[in-house]
Structures are given as C-alpha cells and as structure tokens.
C-alpha cells in the first residue's frame, strides 16, 4: 500500500473542491453597489422629524399612519393607487 498516495488523494480532492467552490461563489457573486446607508439614515431622520411635526400639531393622530402617509406622499398618485389595489387583492386572495 502506498501510504503517501492514499493520504494525498483525498487531500487533493478537498483542495480541488474548495477551489471549485470559491470559483462557483465568485461566478455567482453579484457586485452590488454599497448600500447608501448615510442617505437612508438621513431620509429616516427627515421622515421622523416630519412625523414629529404632525404629532405635535395633532396628538390624536396615529404616528404609524402618519409615517405611512408621508411615505405614500413621496410616490405619484398612480403608484399609490396601484399599490393599494395590489395589496387589497392580495388580502382578498387570502380571505377566500
């Protein structure tokens, strides 16, 4: 029995597997631009400030509804309506 060959073969196989895995990973990895975290945080802070303004004026309003309204107002009316219809029909499908 050639001990060197017997032990080296699985090792080589492992090495080949790991290389192949790395190539596979590289092949499928998509180069995404870095998440614009700074601008997202800025947007979130601005939104929170707007919610605070509404809540200061109308403490009876629901802050979640106010926030969602302010977000909805950032889209054009057609987008808002289509979003509302798609979600409404989605819920209806669950009900049936």
């Amino acid at each position: 029995l050639d001990v060197a060959k017997a032990t080296a073969a699985p090792f080589r196989l492992n090495e080949t597997c790991s290389t192949a895995f790395r190539i596979w990973l590289n092949f499928f990895s998509v180069k995404r631009p870095a998440f614009p975290s700074a601008s997202a945080v800025r947007w979130g802070k601005k939104l929170a400030a707007e919610v605070a303004v509404v809540m200061a004026r109308y403490p009876d309003a629901d802050p979640d509804d106010v926030r969602l309204t302010l977000i909805a107002l950032q889209s054009p009316p057609l987008v808002r309506l289509n979003r509302s219809l798609r979600r409404g029909r989605g819920f209806a499908a669950f009900r049936k």
Binding site: Y58, T69, L73, N82, R89
Partner: protein, 163 residues
C-alpha cells in the same frame, strides 16, 4: 404604465374615453383616499357618475370596447369589457350631498397622464362614517390620521409661502 398592474394602459384608456366624452364622474371610496396618500388597501376603484343613463356614457364605453351592464338580480350596475375590470359603480353615497354639490368640492388628481376628479379625503371620511359598516369603521382612524398629516403639511406649506 406597466401592463399587469391593476390600473394599466387599458384601464387608463377607458378613463380617458370617459373624459373625452365629457362624462361627469369622480373617484370615490378608498381609491380616492389612496390617491390622496392614505395608506389603505382596496379591491376596486369606485366611480360615482352624475347620470348613468347618459347616452354619451355608452358611447364612451363602446369606443374602448367596454359596456355598461344594468343592475340584474343581486348584481349592482357594472362595467364590462376591456379595461373595466378594476372599476365599480357607486350607486349610493352615504352621508354626502348631491353629485353636483360634491362635484364642486372634488379635487383634481393627476393619475398617469389623466386629471381625474376625486372626492376629497374629508368627504370620504364623512361617507365612511355614514355608511357605518364594520369594514368602513375600521378605516376611519387611518383616514383621520391621513387627514391630519395633509392638514399639517398644507399649513407648513402656506407658512413657507408667506414672506
């Protein structure tokens, strides 16, 4: 406008035909609320017509291959044919004044390339309160908060506009 969305090109063509034929109608209900920013969900777009027996209405629908289906048994009046699928016809608006009065109060909202008359949020709220069905009562707090948000925004805008 991408096809496959509830309100896509064929639906907009139907609305455009109604506008071209000078049919007096407005968007009411939760679709009207959604158009004005309310975070609500709905299954159809309710249209309130001034006169359902107007011959021009039939012409406008025929132009796009659609048709008016009169009430039959449990069926309310409906629109049928291409582009009519998301639309419902409102036959009774609880808690509102006559069409002509509400028409004057209606707000103009740009939906895609069309300017549609839309029942103001305050009036949607009034109609939901008057309808008083469980599903109407559920959305009242959301509509109230939306109204508050719009009021606060318009006050801020008018303050900024003042020198």
């Amino acid at each position: 406008v991408a096809e496959g969305l509830p309100l896509s090109e064929s639906e907009l063509r139907l609305l455009e035909s109604l506008l071209r034929h000078k049919i007096r109608f407005m968007v009411v209900g939760l679709s009207a609320a959604a158009l004005q920013g309310a975070p609500v969900v709905t299954e159809d777009i309710d249209l309130w017509f001034d006169n359902l027996s107007d011959p021009k209405l039939m012409q406008a629908l025929l132009k796009v291959g659609a048709a008016y289906i009169p009430p039959f048994g449990y069926n309310p009046p409906m629109l049928g044919g291409p582009g009519s699928e998301p639309f419902g016809i409102a036959i009774r608006m609880n808690g509102l004044d006559a069409f002509a009065v509400e028409w004057k109060r209606a707000v103009d909202v740009k939906v895609g390339r069309l300017w549609l008359k839309v029942l103001p949020l305050e009036r949607v709220l009034a109609s939901k309160r008057a309808a008083n069905r469980p599903k109407d009562l559920r959305v009242i707090p959301v509509l109230q908060s939306t109204l508050r948000t719009l009021q606060a925004k318009s006050k801020r805008r008018s303050k900024k506009a003042k020198p």
